[in-house]
Symmetry: C2
Subunit: 137 residues, 2 copies
DNA sequence: ACAAAATTGCGACATATTTGCAAAAATAAT
DNA sequence: ATTATTTTTGCAAATATGTCGCAATTTTGT
């Protein structure tokens, strides 16, 4: 099933309208792997900033978009409906955000950690911080 | 060794002065387990906001303070000089930040994940998101 | 107690995010 | 296809968060 279809279905199911700004936000994220809020606003020229913020929040609730930690800020990425679950490493020299391969055993591990505290796990974030290969010279 | 002593030694070793604002920031964090920046500013009444920001940054570099992820924001906590390394779960109903027990095998796991990508790991953040026990009713 | 060095407070600025509300667009009904 | 209803947008202003230069104050080393 193509991504456009998933987007439309997700919105319809949640009884939300499909609008030009929403399409623009989605397109920008689809074309750029990940963006900061600022970059997203620039990528969606002509669309009001407040509208973008509101739609990012909506998309996050619907699982269309995920905020990934990046230092003490965050970046935006399409959610698991579109991209496989994964984590990121942030290079604190060049700032790059590197996608890490899926690791099922890590997921199991976190599930177990949560259940030991009677915590009902719904999602999680892992961020590795250090130096990417290129910056290790 | 008591915490006050560790604080003073850490500052002295780094050739930084011990001042009233720095003591206040440290005390606030020691008494409240974790605080948002806003809460810290309120807890340190009479101390200038810019000074608090500057000292938090200094403390972070010296390992006195750590920023822990809390949704897409962060909270401040004393660092590993004072508290054992641990992660947190955030309840997205009541907002509570729950400290999780140390888990050495999780640490190993993350080290391995990093080395598979030739990434030089210096630190990491793990945040579980979901419902705390009290909010699961 | 003194001089040198480090730190603070202030006020202004920059950036990020949120809000109320009237206008515009999308959806549902006819 | 047009109209009525509901949702969403744009705007402008408010709030929040973080940063900066610099003179005044505090701390440190002698």
């Amino acid at each position: 099933m193509n991504t456009q279809r998933i987007l439309e279905d997700t919105l319809r199911t949640a009884r939300q309208s499909m609008t030009t700004p929403r399409q623009a936000v989605f397109d920008a994220l689809q074309h750029h792997r990940s963006l900061t809020m600022r970059e997203l606003v620039m990528a969606c020229a002509h669309i009001n900033r407040a509208t973008i913020y509101r739609n990012v929040e909506l998309f996050e609730q619907l699982g269309i978009v995920t905020r990934i930690p990046n230092g003490w800020k965050y970046r935006l990425e399409l959610g698991e409906k579109f991209l496989d679950h994964h984590h990121h490493a942030t290079c604190h020299n060049c700032g790059a955000s590197i996608a890490l391969p899926e690791d099922p055993s890590l997921e199991l591990h976190l599930n177990e950690l949560a259940s030991r505290k009677n915590f009902k796990l719904e999602s999680h974030q892992v961020e590795l911080l250090g130096l990417c290969y290129a910056c290790q010279t």
